[in-house]
Amino acid sequence: MRLLEEIGYLFVRGLKQSMRPTAALLPSLFMPVFFFLISSAAFSSVARLPGFTSGSYLQFYAPAAILMAIFFSSGDAGIDLVVDITSGYLDKLMIAPIHHLSIILGKLTAVGVRSMVQATLVMIIILLAGGRIVTGLPGLVTILLLGGLFGIAWSAIGMSIALRTRNQRATQSSFILFFPFTFVTTSQMPLNLLHGWYRAAVQLNPVTYVLEAIRSVTSVGWDGRVIGMGFLVALCTGVCTISFALVSFRKAIP
């Protein structure tokens, strides 16, 4: 019971930390919206390719923009943690008589909620730009749950780097992982139009399955197999990354 209370307090603190100052949220909102508007305009004629069955390119690209919002918001978790480490604030929490696990779990849950908030804002912009969610409100909730779960899983990578290096630049550099994990997917082209090694790499990338689950909800409909696979992959990724973060945390504390 006490553990849940501690997680609750640290969740609120983590959420405030990740959303202050408000202006700092803009880049993580701007990037997905920018890619969405540019790509859907630049590649609109791709929709006329034989084998492209997703209707408009705007509708096809929308899940990639949602996923990007999740990537960007969860990527900040490592930075927030390294700020706590270098400022000595983590030490202050460490000498409080609390479960040390609550420090990490509070931060992870805060990241999950922030990912949901960012994804919601991007979805509003997508809807205003003419995109739609074919599964309606339940679909929106599904996307948020999946986004929150994947955001937590992804954020644990940055947090592990923060704990192991205790260095802001090293933690910030984890941002480069975003590129292969986002672009070596079906974010820009459907799988049936991809070939060779690239297709194989896309199929090996776990993010592809999360992306396809979101795409199913926004553009195809309730496909239990695809959506279930997205949740399963996000969960498995989370188990691996969070375990690694917890081991890193354990190593970082006396």
């Binding site: 930390q17 000595g88 604030y89 030490d91 409080a96 008589p97 205790r166 006396p254």
Partner: protein
Amino acid sequence: MSSSIVQVEELTRRYGDVTAVDCISFDVQEGGFFGFLGPNGAGKTTTMRILATLLKPTSGLARVAGIDVTRDPQAVRKLIGFAMQDVSLDLMASANENLQLLGVLYGMSRRASRARAAELIEMVGLTKVADRWVSTFSGGMRRRLDLAGVLMHSPRLLFLDEPTQGLDPHARRLIWDYLRELNASGSTIFLTTHYMDEADTLCRDLAFIDKGRIIRSGEPAELKASLGGDVIQITFGEEAPMERVQSVLGRLRGAQSLAVHDQTITMTSANGGELVPHIVRELDSAELAPVSLSVSQPSLEDVFVSLVGRSILDDETQLVQGRDPFVEGRR
């Protein structure tokens, strides 16, 4: 009769080949005001971090209120407060938010935490800015808030690591006043500092640490009296041959100790006034002209110089030993 709230026995902490704390032993009495003095990198912070459960010792024993810090750190954490060398606050939160969070994490109800935070914020004179983000605070305001945070749960034992470093004289005096009040109200204070005037003003017991070892401990008055009289300081110009100066003054009868620090000679004597004419005569006949000469009562700085032959603020010392390997490793 008071009992020991801190007991340290043969405590050692190594970082690879570097021994930061080298088999030290000391006690701190409950209700006392204890000063742990030494230059940067002497091992003060490492010792304090071990006692505050942030670091495990390589060997030896450390107890707080009779509890082994390695066996039951959670029990120790409830009893202590630790104001670290660098102020550790959530800069993107207000003063109120910072303190209230600490309160609830230490097991207070939200209401009690709010009330205690308001009380402490008032005590440190920050009521008007209580809802402003800490990032807008000056260094002195942050230090005062940090200190207030440490007091949220009314700890029995307070660790303060260089609490006035970088503060202006007014802010330092404010902090000194808070510390005296806290100590008077029953909290034991364990302070590290390299400001000798601070230790002399506040502490009732002291230990000098250098290169990881405790070199002397006792009450300030007792330590100063151990120098046996007056301190004579003679400063020479940049070009002065200090080895020759040392040799000339070393021959004088009546000087109890002699130490050189940069271009300054520090001597102790049972009667400084009587020795000064002899010093002047000897220097004159050796054609050595000092820039200044003073006779004073000994300070704690003089005690340190007499023990290790250099100043606690010696730049060279800071360069050679100033790297606390723990801090370095963490950055």
